[in-house]
Symmetry: C2
Subunit: 394 residues, 2 copies
């Protein structure tokens, strides 16, 4: 019963993440493992913090990766900032706002929900009403870029409203970091987490995190202990907090961190504004092709994430069958809808390294071919040309 | 301010972990990333479960890796099994028993401590006394192989006592898995977690986990919600639990899982009994050299872990200076003591791929040279020969 080594197929990853990983990052992950207290590793950790601050556009001292995926980054924010009985406004316009609510409840907090339709941005007026109706709220939590729908919210305005009512802000930037303008310090986001497998196009497994001074102060002044030992920032910072003497908390995921370091070096080489522009340009080309085919976007134009394109599945087309053919015939992965969106939308990612012309043309060409083949009501044979025209105009 | 790629030095890792990683595993981690719901990935996940059951010597259905380091594996056991008010006996004979106590408290449980000296095994008589004194205890938790001291405890006997008093057993096997005999099903261990960076000689970042049917039943019958969303097995199993339809919980750390899969394939190729024997043989050779030098072990012979050798630092020798020279001159990492053992012991790991003749000879030769050079009270020039004699006799 000896199993043999696993050799994955080579896919093009255009779902909601993981996205295509830059080969430089894969190579970095295979470099020799060293100890988590090795002086050379500690130097790398300090560089990582500087590079992460650049990616987040912040000068927050507490900026580091959590040694687990984005959902653990989310939980790290909530378990450290929420104490039993705390009221937390949670803006929900997709799956991840719902997950925030669960986190508040599991910390013994009281969620106050601000609901928006899936596929829409968070409405600042609704947030303002909720803040007025609940003057005892401590925190406002929202998702900057909803991965489940492809909608982006106005994080700056939401944060301003929260601060005007003396609330701290928790923001999910899993899908925005590196792909859409995100200015943590300028916008005053207090506790921000992200993921590595989206627009940083690194492998999944780590969650970049940044906390403002104010947020750190709240963690230090807690009257109850943080319920998670693994995620307690008071302990984690004994290791990541810097200084000559670092104490062991957990064994850092050494090689995964090599990968993230390389991803951040690549981002800095490109320049973050250029990365944002590239995501925009490729989105416009994909959009031109999608619309030329006669397909439509689910999210309003001004609330649309360039790195995650939610496209309505035409009436009568079998979602799963189309995705299976794209995977089998083109080694192309696009994403399904989640929750109420399941079977109704495709989520086409153009994230990080995967946001490039080759992927745009492959996706349009493959989708065109498969949909034409099954007789779907689309305009065939024009999508790729439309995308090329978009590139020529940009 | 562009940072450049990080190129780690090539070390020999003979501390308490991470241990030297087999190059096959590093190569596996650099294979192309695919989606966490890709049919090819799902096949790999199913193989992973079979391979992990072999490593744990169990047929527990719930056997999978937690997507975070060993300390998150520990927390996964406690948050799922402990409810507020539950009494838990925690056997403490080193750092990790103390961490278990913290976990119990943060879950709202009541720890009942069974204390043993650091460097000794857990005393079954003390556990029995505690079980008799506290008939309302729900769980017994202990560390099979204490990484902080190098002592191994008799997990089978401890588990038998616990079951006789109708308690479930939580066992930390971070350092034992793959290095010392561990028979999860035969011994009746109910909730067991481990790490990847010890005797599996994989990179750090994942925590193999296995739960008995009884333990799963306790999780299902909880009256309160698991306080961690990320670690709630009721949710995690929607993804790892198998079946044709898997639901998204968190994005699995794809490439790290490639590495673990490869590590488990390597273990199965060698055969787990052979791996145990290899750890034993290399330990005996190291021991012969250490004792020939006139150095002594901290742990009694019958309670000694072959994969983690705690050696007393000779009077007057500067711990940190010696380790720094080993690192600078020989690229060799050995471990420092933790807590009350700091400055008093060195922890020399012979784990997984690192448990080999080359490492034994390098470590003895380097230690001999550095200690002789600083005039430490040792017998110089005999250690390597003593180790060779041990190999010849085995």
């Amino acid at each position: 019963m000896i199993h043999s080594s696993f050799h994955p197929p080579v896919r093009t990853l255009m779902g909601p993440g993981p996205s295509d990983v830059n080969p430089r990052i894969l190579e970095a992950m295979s470099r020799p493992t060293i100890g988590h207290l090795d002086p050379a590793f500690v130097t790398m950790m300090e560089e990582m913090k500087v590079l992460l601050r650049y990616a987040f556009q912040t000068d927050h001292e507490l900026t580091m990766p959590v040694s687990a995926p984005g959902s653990a980054g989310m939980e790290t924010c909530f378990v450290n900032l929420v104490e039993p009985g705390d009221k937390v406004i949670v803006c929900r316009n997709g799956v991840f706002g719902g997950r925030m609510k669960e986190n508040v409840e599991r910390c013994g907090g009281v969620p106050v929900m601000v609901e928006d339709e899936w596929g829409r941005a968070v409405d600042p007026h609704k947030l303002e009403d909720a803040l007025k109706a609940h003057p005892d709220v401590k925190l406002v939590a929202f998702v900057h870029a909803e991965t489940s729908t492809g909608a982006i919210s106005d994080a700056q305005t939401l944060a301003e409203l929260a601060h005007r009512h003396d609330c701290l802000v928790i923001a999910d930037t899993v899908t925005s970091l590196g792909g859409s303008p995100l200015k943590v310090s300028e916008w005053g986001l207090d506790a921000v987490y992200s993921g590595t497998q989206k627009c940083l196009s690194c492998t999944p497994g780590l969650s970049p995190l940044t906390f403002s001074e104010r947020a750190v102060e709240v963690v230090k002044q807690r009257s109850s202990q943080v319920q998670s030992w693994f995620m307690d920032l008071n302990l984690v910072l004994g290791y990541w907090g810097g200084g000559a003497r670092r104490s062991y908390h957990h064994t850092a995921p050494i090689n995964a961190l090599y990968g993230l370091h390389e991803a951040l070096v690549i981002l800095q080489e490109e320049g973050i504004e250029h990365a944002w522009q590239r995501h925009r340009d490729n989105h416009l080309a994909l959009r031109a092709g999608i619309e030329a085919m006669g397909l439509s976007f689910v999210v309003n134009e001004n609330e649309r994430l360039p790195q995650l394109n939610s496209v309505a599945i035409p009436e009568g087309v079998d979602d799963a069958a189309v995705r299976a053919r794209l995977l089998q015939e083109y080694d192309l992965e696009i994403g399904a809808g989640l929750g109420p969106m399941a079977g109704r939308i495709w989520r086409i990612g153009l994230m990080g390294y995967a946001s490039n012309r080759r992927n745009v043309l492959l996706c349009l060409g493959a989708l065109d071919a498969v949909l034409s083949d099954i007789g779907a009501p689309i305009e065939g044979g024009v999508a790729v040309e439309a995308a090329m025209a978009s590139y020529a105009a940009s």
